[in-house]
Symmetry: C2
Subunit: 480 residues, 2 copies
């Protein structure tokens, strides 16, 4: 579903177009998004997550605290037009070319900081773990392109805290982490399965930042260069060896062992083949090192997700706040559908007690394109049926004045019965044309008002009809 | 539902609070909002409206075009942090104290301009009438107070165009307008009825701006003072006669007849009693004048809404764009729950063909407070049941290692069957405590894993239980 990222309005005045990278969603397009929302929601609920929501805009500092001042050029600044004194100061700072958090607020580029703030605010009362999901729009000041818009909908699931860990500072064991990590991935996989995707074209590729940190250390990269090393690993499948080497040099990484690991053959890798390229001979030691990954594999198998998931030593995920497991859902070997990981330090960053957490996010834009490209987006008729959009009754007058006068009351009667009832607004009196309209909107029944007492009730699916007293026949619709 | 307009975060740092006038919605609070959304949605669908959505922020000019530059101090400005050159210019203009549209974008204070733009962009293909609904958040830079927040959810229904009117410039007859005006009001009334409100405490008070315009003219107010006269009428129930007179003088209105009409007795008015205070003796002429109102009364009666609706000559609604029928839903004689009216010129303002239209908006904040105050908000248990949030199964291990190992696979199995399944995260092995937890989350069934083959299935509602082979008993849950 592409929506209308750049619809042309009747006027050439750009202020009459939707802003670049946003969408006008007409009924059919919105129904497709609502269908995705419904699937996200149902999946979350099945897995025991509860929904929360927060502000569309937050204090800018909420985002710079997590991501640094650099985020400011990637987000939309927001300010109140009422705050006259504040506006002047803000204007002076912007005019002076100040970067960083100048506007007091920002449209949320993601939900995690809000979630961390909300958990921190009630950390004392909330259960461990707390399982929350969220699905609303996010906003990024990026150049729009296929699969990437400035306003998009995102689904998040997060598990915060570990079982039986009510106290601040508790450090989860590898087994505890693997259990909740698998639980998060299983929920994501269930969505993929539910929309008709298969492990043949979509894979959850996972890794562990702590494992990767150990490996990188063993390869001679010191702690202060770990972030740069992760950034290089993340780019391994997009850059050739010469570029990787140049970048490593730029970052100040000169370990030959690390460069060799970076340049190992690409494609068809698994955990064993990746590790075979490590200059380490003690296999027992390697097994202990990779235990978080093998533990997770076991839990994923128990959750019925084994064939969807594979370890991928190329996944590091740039975001600094991930502390353990990281994963990406990749379709057709290249399209990132979702991503997430463990972030054990974030809640504390937002003023809460140290609380381990794991979560993921999935956007509507890439998922929609993928489903469309694969022919997996249901037909508009199927979507309408699934979302309860199908009309129950379509009311038609036979053209007599007494019938005309009853259209309104019959509609009111049907709606009062809880039914979705429509009428024709056509000025034609030809019943054939009006029945065609009832069929075009896929109504279950047509109600033809014949007189002040009688109607004809036509079952549009069965193509059968009955004529008789109004009230008795209308009652049949609710029973159908 | 008040949500958390000002939640205190663990830190005293204000950047860790939600922005003033926005809400953190935890699961129970969000469920109540989702329940309202569900009612809005179901009501819209029953009445044949189709849902659309548009951008959260629009070009600022979209709003100033409809409401003038004054709106800028009431809304939130939005700008892209990426647009460095634009930021400097914007900063200079703000620093210079420029008012008006300085930020390129604004958070939507309402949806109607977006709707008008969307209709204008596809006016050639869309049916007449087009019936759209919308429910999302709006944003206003107002001082927050009870019933008024800076971010709130709004429900809109609009009927655009009149039947059989495909051409630009068509002017609807009084009868055509009354029919669609009644249709809009009937949808709004159906929502009020559906949430348990009654005509005893909530009334739809309607009027017609064209009728009011005629009356005001007859009372000696010239055309250029009509807007001021409407503003005075709108304030009649909030100000005393001396203040009204002072305001009229300030506006340059000095017609004694109008002032007398303004000062007529308040309370218990209806159409006849209001008009009795007009210095007009030709009753036949008055009947012709008030025909739009009496026509609408007839259509409302046909739609089963008579007892909910009454003409109120004190309703003018300040917004300049209303051209005909205007209405407000008033609870307990003073709380405005919803409002709307006919706006026949707005589509053309946004570049579309001249197209008559009528609609209304209702916010979640006042409605929630009203339902809470009247004890009409369903219990959290009822809401959970209605929204499908109730767990189907709660999985418990009997504490043996073989049972512990089966918790994950059984959960996966149940979720794969499309069921909402949860487990305990408590470290206790005491089955009584775990069953209490199953009961606390209102699960329909508890599944106690007894061995590698057997489970006990406990029906929590019936308080019955069976022990037997796992697969056979699990299958019973879907049948229940």
């Amino acid at each position: 579903m592409s929506g209308e990222p750049n619809n042309a309005a009747a006027s050439s005045n750009t202020s009459l177009n939707a802003p670049t990278g946003t969408r006008d969603l007409y009924p059919l397009e919105l129904a497709r998004r609502r269908w995705i929302e419904r699937r996200w929601r149902d999946t979350s609920l099945r897995h025991g997550f509860e929904e929360i929501d927060g502000p569309t805009f937050e204090h800018t500092e909420l985002y710079t605290r997590k991501s640094g001042d650099g985020i400011v050029s990637e987000i939309f600044g927001v300010y109140s037009g009422k705050d006259e004194a504040g506006l002047k100061t803000m204007g002076q700072r912007l005019a002076a070319g100040e970067t960083g958090a100048v506007a007091p607020y920002a449209l949320r580029p993601e939900f995690t900081p809000t979630l961390a703030r909300m958990f921190a605010a009630r950390a004392g009362q909330l259960p461990r773990p707390t399982k929350w999901f969220w699905q609303q729009n996010c906003y990024r000041a990026e150049k729009p392109q296929r699969g990437r818009l400035r306003e998009f909908m995102q689904w998040n699931c997060d598990i915060i805290g570990i079982p039986g860990e009510p106290n601040a500072g508790a450090t989860p064991s590898a087994a505890e982490k693997a259990e909740l990590d698998a639980e998060i991935i299983a929920c994501c996989v269930d969505l993929l399965r539910g929309v008709g995707l298969s492990p043949a074209n979509v894979k959850v590729r996972f890794n562990d930042r702590s494992v990767l940190g150990n490996i990188v250390s063993r390869l001679g990269v010191d702690d202060e260069h770990h972030a740069a090393a992760f950034a290089l690993l993340d780019r391994r499948n997009k850059l050739d060896n010469a570029d990787l080497e140049a970048m490593a040099f730029e970052f100040g990484i000169n370990s030959i062992e690390f460069l060799n690991f970076l340049k190992r053959p690409r494609g068809g890798e698994n955990l064993a083949s990746s590790l075979a390229h490590l200059p380490v001979t003690d296999r027992g030691d390697l097994e202990r090192l990779t235990q978080p990954l093998t533990l997770l594999q076991s839990r994923l198998a128990e959750a019925g997700c084994a064939e969807w998931c594979e370890v991928d030593m190329n996944i590091a995920r740039g975001l600094a706040y991930y502390t353990g497991m990281v994963f990406e859902v990749i379709a057709d070997g290249e399209r990132a559908v979702a991503g997430g990981g463990r972030y054990d330090n974030l809640i504390a960053t937002f003023g809460g007690p140290a609380t381990p957490a794991v979560g993921f996010g999935m956007g509507d834009v890439v998922l929609s394109l993928l489903l469309q490209d694969k022919g997996l987006m249901p037909s508009d008729k199927q979507i309408a049926a699934e979302l309860g959009l199908r009309p129950d009754a379509f009311v038609i007058s036979n053209g007599s004045p007494e019938a005309d006068a009853l259209v309104g009351p019959v509609l009111a009667k049907l709606r009062g019965m809880g039914l979705h009832a429509r009428r024709s607004y056509k000025t034609t009196g030809k019943i054939g044309k009006l029945l065609k309209e009832a069929s075009d909107v896929n109504s279950r029944f047509a109600v033809i008002i014949e007189s002040s007492e009688e109607i004809t009730l036509k079952d549009m699916d069965q193509n059968t009809q009955d004529r008789g007293p109004r009230e008795a026949l209308l009652a049949r619709i609710t029973l159908a």
